[in-house]
């Protein structure tokens, strides 16, 4: 598969062979309808028991680890906000050295770093870039709920244009978030790492197969997962999967993967729904006017066209 020997005999995850074991226990303190913890649990299901997790400060860290409780059935470490890729690189290097020196008897574990969009696209970008560039064999998972939700819905560089947050509030002089969402997968891909993908828990098999590929491939992998946040987006908790699906069906959040530099759109939308259908589900966009929506629709179309050009690029 696409010149990657690791993926030649890749056995796909289907609804029939779905891993059953959960590594994040129920009873954690995530909000109702949190699609982020759902996505995180899917990642860990695929990764399985021989896995070490480094978790950045953020929602997932807080809701899974209030001492003396823990939701984790995997070895897990939280150090700080901006350094989870650095911590993961240390874990990977440590075990690699121990293995080589015959001080580690078991098979090499998966090393997975988990961070939110703030931890990834803002404060942790340098540490992530360093870890990707150095070529550590690890998977970095960005769970993107498009703002600093843990601290109370402040904007990040991953917040979409026009969204109202507590630090990009919509007002008579402001549309809300005034910048376009940072292209984190593009930045990760620019490190020429073997695997980069976007995923969405609304498309669970696509997500889980991407996790499996990312862990199969040797070298750094980056997975950017759309993570619906009813609390921060002012959407209905019971509609999180619907909202997640709409993000893909409207091309707001296209699903693709980049294996050794080659981009493939993994979920092609033949008849995309208008962006406004997606925006209607979330009150963070409620203030947007017709002209704003027209502008955003145009930008979304351009964004998809760019991905399609990259997909057909023969080089």
């Amino acid at each position: 598969m696409l010149n990657n020997p690791g993926l030649e005999n890749f056995e796909k995850i289907t609804s029939k062979n779905l891993p059953r074991e959960n590594y994040i226990s129920p009873g954690h303190r995530a909000c109702q309808g949190c699609a982020e913890i759902l996505a995180l649990a899917m990642v860990m299901k695929v990764a399985g028991p021989n896995t070490i997790v480094a978790n950045a400060t953020g929602c997932m860290e807080i809701v899974t680890s209030p001492f003396p409780q823990t939701a984790w059935k995997l070895p897990w470490i939280h150090v700080a906000f901006e350094n989870t890729a650095a911590v993961a690189s240390g874990i990977e290097a440590g075990i690699k050295a121990l293995k080589r020196k015959n001080k580690y008897q078991d098979d090499l574990p998966n090393v997975i770093a988990v961070g939110g969009d703030g931890a990834t696209a803002d404060i942790g970008l340098q540490a992530l870039s360093g870890a990707l560039e150095r070529g550590h064999n690890f998977l970095y998972v960005c769970l993107d709920n498009e703002a600093y939700m843990n601290t109370g819905i402040q904007r990040s560089s991953s917040t979409p244009y026009g969204a109202s947050t507590t630090t990009s509030p919509a007002g008579s002089q402001s549309i809300g978030q005034q910048t376009w969402k940072k292209d984190m997968p593009g930045i990760a891909a620019a490190h020429n790492i073997p695997y980069v993908a976007t995923a969405n828990p609304g498309f669970h098999l696509d997500l889980m197969n991407k996790v499996k590929k990312a862990l199969t491939i040797n070298g750094p992998a980056y997975l950017h997962i759309y993570s619906a946040c009813p609390t921060g987006w002012r959407s209905k908790p019971e509609k999180s999967i619907e909202v997640s699906k709409l993000a893909v069906q409207t091309n707001v959040f296209p699903l693709y993967e980049i294996i050794n530099g080659k981009l493939t759109i993994t979920k092609k939308i033949n008849k995309p729904k208008p962006v406004v259908d997606y925006f209607k589900t979330q009150r963070r966009f409620a203030h947007l006017k017709e002209d704003d929506l027209k502008f955003i629709q145009q930008k979304i179309d351009e964004q998809l066209a760019r991905l399609q050009r990259l997909e057909t690029d023969k080089e």
Binding site: F67, A80, L98
Partner: protein
């Protein structure tokens, strides 16, 4: 014992780290720490040391990766200076809070601004409360010896805390000094392989670094502090064992000069050697003066320090760092706080000397002594050698 070899102190420290058979080195270059980590990368490149050398993109990551690798069960080393140490600041507390026995050399250097690559203790003094064991080496031999001993201290299950060995930037790091090296076999016998208490082991999953709710945070910090307080005994034990094994004796607090000396210089780091020359010359000319070196700075060895200064009438405390807006430099603050509870207190003079690499000579120490006798030093502190024309 073999003959001493003349070697740059940085290379002697690198040799010590190699002989400690570390598994991971995560480091970012900063003057004057560079020669240590360059040499280690050479050892790794030519197979003399089987370790992962992680050439990180910042000191923040150097410490973060060190936390990860130590938590994974690997013996881990890093080194830094000044701005690099300041960039690590946040993670230094986490390394001790997670009880990870990382060993770090700090090649002490002044903090910006203005930017200075030269020595003082401003960098580590800004990190007094990180919860690490903090040791000051005085010369090349000590830098080599204590760098090995540091691993034994850190990894002792009664300690399990990170240890930082301070060596003065340039004054020690770039100086060629005679160093007696120890056979690898003897070091292996002294320093057993790292046996971590807890690791990130998929067969025995643990949660490291959970949320400390108000009901547990204070207890958690208290436990860490208790471990640091308790480490004093283990540091002394390891120094003692070092002396018995390698015939070089180190004390937590070292007193030099006549026992009954009325005036005592208090020093940390390489300045102690210059002070001793001054003390010698002053003693020869009939003055009653001695010197006390603080080798272990954290935890502060209260009992040993009070014993060392017992009977002295006057202390001249040399600080190599400023504590802006405070009554004294950091070392003098520490000592004065300690003396508050003592029934008999010596007079305390505080001289802040050698900031940003300013040379402090034997003559300077003699002048400090003369001024202290005539009560000419400032009642709080004197910043030594500040030019009035500047």
């Amino acid at each position: 014992m073999t003959k001493a070899k003349g070697l740059e102190v940085s290379l002697a420290v690198a040799e010590a780290v190699k002989q400690a058979n570390v598994d991971v080195i995560a480091a970012y270059p900063i003057t004057p720490q560079t020669h240590i980590v360059e040499e280690l990368s050479v050892y790794v490149a030519n197979g003399e040391l089987d370790a992962e050398y992680v050439p990180v993109e910042s000191e923040h990551t150097a410490m973060s990766a060190s936390v990860g690798s130590s938590a994974a069960g690997a013996r881990t080393y890093t080194a830094t200076s000044a701005q690099g140490l300041a960039l690590m600041h946040e993670i230094l507390f986490i390394a001790s809070g997670l009880r990870l026995p990382i060993v770090m050399t700090v090649a002490n250097r002044a903090l910006s601004a203005p930017i200075s690559i030269w020595n003082d203790h401003g960098d580590i003094m800004a990190e007094r409360d990180i919860g690490w064991v903090q040791i000051f080496a005085e010369n090349g031999q000590e830098a080599y010896d204590l760098s090995i001993a540091a691993f034994k201290i850190a990894e002792d299950h009664r300690v399990l805390l990170p240890v930082c060995v301070n060596i003065d930037g340039f004054i020690l790091t770039h100086m060629i000094e005679p160093v007696l090296f120890i056979d690898q076999k003897k070091i292996d016998a002294f320093l057993p392989p790292f046996n971590p208490a807890l690791t990130l082991d998929p067969k025995k999953p643990v949660t490291m670094g959970p949320v400390g709710v108000p009901e547990v945070y204070a207890e958690s910090r208290k436990q860490c502090e208790q471990a640091l307080i308790n480490s004093r005994e283990i540091v002394a034990e390891v120094f003692d064992q070092w002396g018995k094994t390698f015939d070089r004796n180190y004390k937590l607090i070292e007193k030099n000069g006549p026992d009954e000396a009325k005036s005592l210089f208090i020093t940390m780091g390489s300045m102690g050697e210059t002070t001793m020359t001054a003390v010698q010359e002053l003693t020869d000319s009939g003055e009653s003066v001695g010197q006390v070196r603080i080798r272990l700075w954290r935890p502060f060895p209260k009992k040993e320090f009070l014993n060392a200064i017992a009977g002295a009438e006057e202390l001249i405390i040399i600080d190599r760092a400023l504590s802006p807006g405070s009554h004294n430099g950091p070392v003098a603050q520490e000592v004065k706080a300690l003396l508050y509870d003592e029934p008999v207190k010596p007079r305390v003079h505080n001289v802040i000397a050698g900031l940003g690499g300013r040379d402090v000579t034997v003559k300077d120490f003699k002048k400090m002594y003369a001024m202290s006798r005539k009560n000419e030093l400032d009642p709080n502190y004197t910043i030594w050698g500040v030019r009035s024309d500047a």
